[in-house]
């Protein structure tokens, strides 16, 4: 009886550790759909980014054209030209965003793509942790 007493709390602890381990494993397998919300979030962010990229480019370029017109008195040509340039710049930005070329100015394929892929992999790893 006296020899059984010191063993008992240890066994109890062992049982509790195993229970916690099981619960943790169960939670880990259950948290697989959590990855889904993560990708939903990043998809949402990407959608926002693309929309803003296109609309922002057009709006800023057009406003710039309007300002040029006011300054140079060339109404309405500056605004028209800058509008189309803005559309082009917005399209280019959107294209670069979705093809994974980053939002880099310049067409050259860069190391940025590889490092971006590295970052994505890093995120994946972080999610799994």
């Amino acid at each position: 009886m006296t020899s059984g007493d010191p063993e008992e709390p240890l066994r109890e602890l062992q049982r509790r550790i195993e229970g916690a381990q099981r619960a943790l494993d169960a939670r880990k397998t259950k948290s697989a759909p959590r990855d889904d919300t993560g990708s939903f979030g990043s998809a949402l962010a990407l959608a926002w980014r693309i929309g803003i990229e296109l609309v922002g480019a057009i709006a800023v370029a057009t406003a710039l054209g309007w300002a040029i017109d006011r300054w140079a008195g060339t109404r309405p040509w500056g605004m028209i030209v800058m509008f189309f340039l803005g559309v082009a710049a917005g399209m280019v930005n959107v294209w670069r965003t979705i093809t994974g070329m980053g939002s880099a100015v310049g067409y050259r394929q860069t190391k940025a793509d590889q490092t971006n892929a590295g970052a994505a992999a890093q995120d994946q790893r972080d999610d799994e942790d």
Binding site: T37, L85, A89, G102, V105, G106, Y107, A112, T115, G118
Partner: protein, 243 residues
């Protein structure tokens, strides 16, 4: 009596301490108060969190270390070689925006990132800083950023303005993205709360929806801070490496 719904009232700037030196309105406003709180909280996290640092981190030390490692990984992966020199700036930027977004979700507080002048100031800081870094590092070669390679000379006439424009638009899109996300989310929350107030019997539905939107807003708050910081890193990468 009908309840008036004013979803945009939450964005009103109100002076707390009116200050008008030399006729300039430099009052200490609710926006400035929240910024001060954000800065104090970030500083407290960094200073108090790492005080009595142990090999096995306690709660706050763990938070401080996690945010440090998160941003460090981001800078390392996206700004490339030599980007770590600018880690303190990116870290401050990320934490400031993150705290601004999250503090704004506390009821009765104020979201300073929902004002375009604040986000634009941050974005302009990034833009001007990155441009200066690029010019200092590369001199006139920095302008080669705007000349796409392997393009016929005639097309350059069209492409260089487009490249220049898409470079100059960066601070605007960076600012608008953060500001629009915050403004839209908070307005949506207020509108649904207004529905709940004007329809007492079925008010439980909009309140339930508000709770769900709130969780989405927490996600958006963290995500937008992350996007802001990661895009700053990418811009920095362009300036440092010029591909």
């Amino acid at each position: 009596m009908a309840i008036e719904i004013r979803p945009l009232e939450q964005f009103k700037i109100e002076p707390i301490i009116p200050l008008h030196p030399f006729g300039i309105n430099a009052s200490y406003t609710n926006s400035a108060l929240l910024m001060t709180i954000a800065v104090i909280l970030v500083t407290a996290l960094a200073v108090l969190g790492t005080r009595n640092a142990g090999l096995v981190p306690r709660r706050w030390q763990s938070v401080a270390e996690m945010s440090y490692e998160f941003v460090a990984n981001m800078v390392e992966a996206n700004a490339g070689h030599g980007g770590m020199a600018y880690f303190p700036f990116i870290f401050s930027l990320f934490m400031f925006v993150l705290l601004g977004n999250l503090l704004g979700l506390v009821p009765y507080s104020f979201t300073f990132t929902s004002h375009i002048i604040v986000t634009f100031a941050l974005a302009a800081m990034v833009f001007i800083g990155v441009t200066i870094i690029g010019i200092v590092k590369h001199g006139f070669r920095f302008l080669s950023l705007f000349v796409p390679a392997g393009v016929p000379k005639v097309l350059l006439l069209l492409l260089v303005p487009i490249e220049l424009l898409s470079y100059c638009i960066r601070p605007f899109t960076l600012a608008i993205r953060l500001f629009a996300n915050m403004l839209a989310g908070h307005t949506m929350l207020a509108i649904f709360a207004g529905f709940a107030a004007s329809a007492p019997l079925f008010g439980i539905l909009p309140v339930g929806l508000d709770v769900l939107i709130y969780f989405l807003e927490v996600l958006v708050a963290v995500l937008q801070a992350y996007v802001f910081a990661i895009l700053s890193c990418l811009y920095l990468h362009d300036a440092l490496h010029l591909h």
